[in-house]
């Protein structure tokens, strides 16, 4: 299945991209999406356990993904 990945701020800088469409196995979880990102060039700039949002909501590592989901890696926030 295809899901969209989004990267922001320092993570987008590290990986050199802000969004990519990727193919994951059916039944893949947030953990699997993170493993995919970790294999990309530049991913050594990410922390060990980045926060993730699915469809604009914070999600745990074991959250199962659905085709078309938007998976975002959320760097430490700095609003205010």
């Amino acid at each position: 299945m295809r899901v969209g990945l989004r990267l922001f701020a320092s993570y987008a800088d590290a990986l050199g991209t802000r969004s990519l469409d990727v193919t994951l196995a059916d039944g893949a979880t947030v953990r699997d999406a993170l493993a995919y990102v970790r294999a990309l060039p530049g991913a050594d700039g990410l922390p060990p356990a980045p926060l993730v949002a699915v469809n604009a909501e914070y999600a745990p590592l074991d959250r199962t993904l659905t085709a078309g989901d938007e998976v975002a890696l959320i760097p430490p926030v700095a609003g205010g």
Binding site: A56, P75, V77, A78, G79, G80
Partner: protein
């Protein structure tokens, strides 16, 4: 009616206060975050804010909903605007205005909104320094420093 927005133009603070004011409230508490000329002992010349916009708006609405029942049986009226893009020294980056019939819930809810916003709303900033360098800065260090100096 509560109000949440991400904006790229300067925030009109007087208009935000007017949004939550009415003859049914007795108290309006507000908080402004502004761009400071120094951070962590480095001379700052400006800040660039960006966001995961759909999620930032959703989280701000969630914070407003949480504050509704947290401090009083009557919900406060809350307006939040966060600016994105390039900001100069002294510019308002975030403005929060909260009204309530009584002052304690207005003050409590205002503080709740800024504390939660700083913890979880997906907004990022890159500081520009006087020496020409830039760096991504987040709220974790700031919080740590605050706790040490209290």
């Amino acid at each position: 009616m509560s109000h949440v927005a991400l904006v790229t133009e300067p925030i009109d603070v007087a208009a935000l206060l007017a949004r939550v004011s009415s003859p049914t409230v007795g108290a309006v508490a507000s908080f402004l975050g502004t761009v400071r000329n120094v951070n962590d002992n480095r001379a700052v010349t400006g800040i660039e804010y960006s966001a995961y916009e759909e999620m930032a708006e959703r989280e701000m609405h969630a914070i407003v909903a949480e504050a509704a029942g947290k401090f009083d049986s009557v919900a406060p009226t809350i307006a939040i605007e966060h600016r994105l893009g390039e900001l100069s020294l002294g510019d308002v980056s975030v403005a929060i205005a909260v009204s309530h019939p009584r002052r304690a819930p207005a003050l409590d809810a205002c503080r709740y909104v800024i504390e939660e916003l700083k913890k979880r709303v997906p907004i990022w900033k890159r500081e520009h320094y006087a020496d020409g360098t830039r760096a991504w800065v987040d709220n974790r260090n700031t919080v740590a420093v605050q706790e040490v100096t209290r």
